[in-house]
């Protein structure tokens, strides 16, 4: 099946034709309907927004080095954290894993030639770009100072910044997300290869299916919400404006109906990545496959029932607060189930120390901290102390950066050989993973303490007693920045100079590893038939792992490990 050729020396060579060299020229990229090329288009755009958001983050941290603010005016500071939030949440975290890794991998993982609607897939990228342009226009013409949450009436009446284009951008961008989710759901339902039953789906696909449900059911609500806020701003409609009798809390209900499930859009795909990486590098089936799969769906569904826990101190009804707190605790259970199962998977495994594995283990640690601190915020009694403090900042950065971004970068390393056909430099990659882990903890752990002390979020200056912790945080941020720059550099380098990977360098069990690296435009030469269970290493002689000697041609590449 594999078209990869080996030279006499046993080293791999790139396949003669693959999706990257199938056609050339800018038009062949901008008009492509190949899900793999669209994934790379997303990679470029999303990386750009990550840079933009990252620069804002760096400026924020530098500014907070001293209690009175080092760098910028209050107005500018408010714009910086708003734009950081908007760029990162709507244009990096939400599309990152689904639109890049999901787009690239889901059709291959289920044995399809493409997504169900390739043109809609391309359309979703253009929609993303158009939305992004509006938001960049807003950033460029005076910026945005409402916070990424756009709470009314500040955003709809009082703010003097460029709210309207930003709101339009987010409205448009929502449709990109909807189209991606729609495509995934339909693809998973109708495009599976023969033998690829629901319970043979990779957990990555399960988690993306759950993510897509949220995108489909939640995103329309944020679209209408920001539309209403925009109308209120432009035409003096009074939906949420107390001056006309509107209720600002209603805006928060609508906003969080999407935006809370949206954090699961960010974390679920990362969980999917981790669920792929761990069995591969432990070389044993995931512990409790059906529980891990079901917990993805559970998180997606229960995640819709908890949104008002963002509003415990707004004056919402006590009964409602109690109900939402209760439901919030329920959503902790499927998350915990995942963590326990991943940990149990390590037991009696054959664990390698490859980079993706380091990211996956880092993910478990950071996600555990992020998840456990979420329990503090879901707790009614503690939330009245911790709400809107740095504790919240630390908590969601542990989930979104420690969780989602670690998963994203880990997944990028894991599938990099599949995407580019080449391996990344292992030593640098491990170093970057460790630097990221240390930098991250140094940045955000002190913020838990700051939050406990009561330092409110979104402050451009702060009482002097908080300085030591802020300095620690800023120092960590600079390490973190290095940790992100390193992969960007060596991954770019490896695209041209990396070692040729071969179809299945790890080796892993998924269908995507049965085709060439990089794959053909049609993914497979002939439609594959699946007759094995997921993550089964025992009955897979084609992986070359059953004997005592390596059966893979030639010497194993250095990427495999530590022998």
């Amino acid at each position: 099946m594999s078209g990869t050729t080996t030279s006499s020396g046993g080293e791999y060579q790139l396949p003669r034709e693959h999706y990257l060299n199938a056609s050339y020229g800018i038009r062949s990229w901008l008009l492509t309907t190949d899900h793999k090329r669209i994934a790379l288009l997303y990679l470029a755009a999303v990386t750009f927004f990550f840079f933009v958001g990252g620069i804002f983050a760096t400026l924020i941290r530098i500014h907070l080095l001293t209690p009175n603010g080092l760098l910028v005016t209050p107005e500018t500071y408010n714009k910086l954290f708003t734009m950081h939030g908007v760029a990162m949440v709507f244009f990096f975290l939400i599309p990152s894993i689904p639109a890049i890794l999901g787009n690239f991998l889901i059709p291959i993982m289920i044995g399809a030639k493409d997504l169900a609607f390739p043109k809609i897939n391309l359309l979703s990228w253009y929609v993303y770009i158009i939305g992004g342009c509006f938001v960049l226009y807003s950033f460029g013409t005076g910026g945005l100072d409402t916070g990424w949450t756009f709470y009314t009436p500040l955003s709809s009446v009082y703010s003097n910044s460029a709210v309207t284009p930003a709101v339009i951008g987010i409205f448009i961008n929502g449709f990109s997300s909807i189209l991606t989710g729609l495509n995934f759901v339909v693809t998973v339902h109708t495009m599976r290869a023969p033998g690829m039953t629901w319970f043979r789906l990779p957990l990555f696909v399960w988690s993306h299916y759950a993510t897509s449900l949220i995108m489909i059911l939640g995103t329309p609500v944020i679209a209408i919400t920001v539309l209403l806020a925009g109308l209120e701003r432009i035409f003096h409609f009074g939906f949420f404006n107390p001056a006309y009798g509107g209720d600002p809390i209603l805006f928060q209900h609508l906003f969080w109906f999407y935006s809370h499930p949206a954090v699961y859009i960010m974390i679920l795909p990362a969980m999917g990545v981790v669920s792929e990486i761990i069995p591969t590098f432990v070389r044993k089936p995931i512990f409790g496959y059906s529980f891990v799969a079901a917990s993805s769906i559970g998180i997606a569904v229960i995640g819709f029932l908890v949104w008002a826990h963002h509003m415990f101190v707004t004056g919402e009804a006590t009964y409602a607060a109690i109900a939402f707190s209760f439901l919030s605790y329920l959503v902790a259970i499927p998350s915990a189930v995942k963590v326990f199962n991943w940990t149990a998977t390590l037991y009696k495994g054959s664990i390698s120390y490859d980079t993706p594995m380091l990211y996956a283990l880092g993910f478990i640690g950071l996600f555990t901290i992020g998840g456990l601190t979420g329990l503090f915020l879901a707790c009614l009694g503690l939330d009245i102390h911790l709400h809107d403090t740095y504790f919240v900042i630390a908590h969601f950065h542990y989930i979104m950066v420690g969780g989602a971004v670690m998963g994203y970068v880990g997944g990028l390393h894991f599938w990099w050989p599949k995407i580019t056909g080449r391996l990344y430099p292992e030593f640098l990659a491990r170093a970057a993973a460790i630097i990221l882990f240390i930098g991250f903890n140094l940045t955000f752990f002190p913020q838990f303490i700051l939050g406990g002390l009561g330092m409110p979020r979104r402050y451009h200056n702060y009482p002097p007693e908080f300085q030591v912790l802020n300095v620690m945080s800023t120092a960590g941020a600079s390490i973190l920045a290095l940790g992100y720059l390193l992969p960007m550099l060596y991954l770019t380098w490896s695209m041209r100079y990396g070692k040729i990977a071969g179809p299945n360098p790890w080796p892993a069990t998924g269908l995507e590893w049965k085709t060439d690296s990089p794959p053909l435009t049609e993914n497979f030469r002939e439609t594959p038939e699946v007759d094995w269970e997921p993550y089964d290493f025992v009955h897979r002689p084609d992986l070359g792992l059953t004997g005592s000697k390596p059966k893979l041609p030639g010497k194993l590449s250095p990427a495999h490990g530590d022998d």
Partner: protein
């Protein structure tokens, strides 16, 4: 049944292609449910808070036009369903005819909507600084083009509204909220109608080539689904906007 038509590269069979398109359309309609749902929620909460002002606002609408439009839209849904039937039974000549009927009814609906919007504009009922819920009640009936009887009712109703809602300023603010929702909801609905009309034009051009028959009718069916969905939205908008507390005084 064996299907014909172009098979796109990513599919294995035409059946799969058809199934995929139908599922995709329904999933899209689910997103539309939630999209309009956000607005219905905003309506529900505010109506719950200000029943009086919403009643006064609702009575400012022209029930006859609203009723006529409902009939027009339901009829268009019927002709749309009939064009799907024509395609499914390979009546290739009938498909464009029913589609043209549908399009005409859709345009009539939008035309009536324009008349209504114009009326609201003349009556100072556009949210913003010029909004004045009492404008018509202060003019002679003829100026606002309503019957003396309705005019009298309106005056009474506004008077009672002012009392019940806690003053003119409050009533005016809350009625403006009602009209914000009126324009937001009907505007969004009209936008969907315009998109639907555009799709219909394309469908008519294609169907005149005789493309749609029992074997291949996915576009007719899917655009039909969309059209029916837009109809459903109106089925709810009509009572919520036009019929609440209808001249119950």
């Amino acid at each position: 049944m064996h299907r014909t038509g172009e098979l796109y590269g990513q599919y294995k069979t035409l059946e799969q292609q058809k199934e995929t398109a139908t599922l995709g359309m329904w999933v899209f309609l689910v997103t539309e449910i939630l999209f309009f749902g956000g607005m219905f929620l905003t309506y529900a909460i505010n109506r719950h808070e200000y029943p009086t002002a919403f009643g006064v606002g609702g009575n400012m609408l022209d029930l006859n036009l609203g009723f006529a439009n409902t009939v027009v839209l339901i009829a268009s849904s019927f002709t749309m369903a009939m064009s799907v039937w024509s395609a499914q039974t390979s009546n290739k000549k009938l498909v464009p005819i029913f589609l043209i009927f549908t399009l005409i009814l859709g345009i009539v609906f939008l035309g009536v909507k324009v008349v209504e919007y114009k009326q609201k504009f003349d009556h100072h009922l556009i949210p913003g600084h010029g909004f004045d819920i009492t404008y018509c009640s202060k003019q002679p009936a003829a100026v606002c083009g309503i019957s003396e009887e309705d005019h009298a009712k309106e005056i009474t109703e506004i008077k009672e509204g002012i009392e019940a809602d806690g003053g003119l300023v409050a009533l005016n603010a809350h009625a403006q909220l009602y009209f914000s929702l009126y324009f937001g909801m009907t505007g969004l609905h009209a936008l969907h109608m315009i998109v639907g009309a555009g799709l219909l034009v394309w469908l008519i051009l294609e169907s005149r080539k005789g493309r749609f028959d029992a074997n291949y009718n996915t576009p007719v069916e899917n655009i039909g689904l969309y059209w029916h969905f837009v109809d459903i939205v109106w089925i709810f908008l009509f009572p919520l906007l036009y019929l609440i507390n209808r001249h119950l005084a």
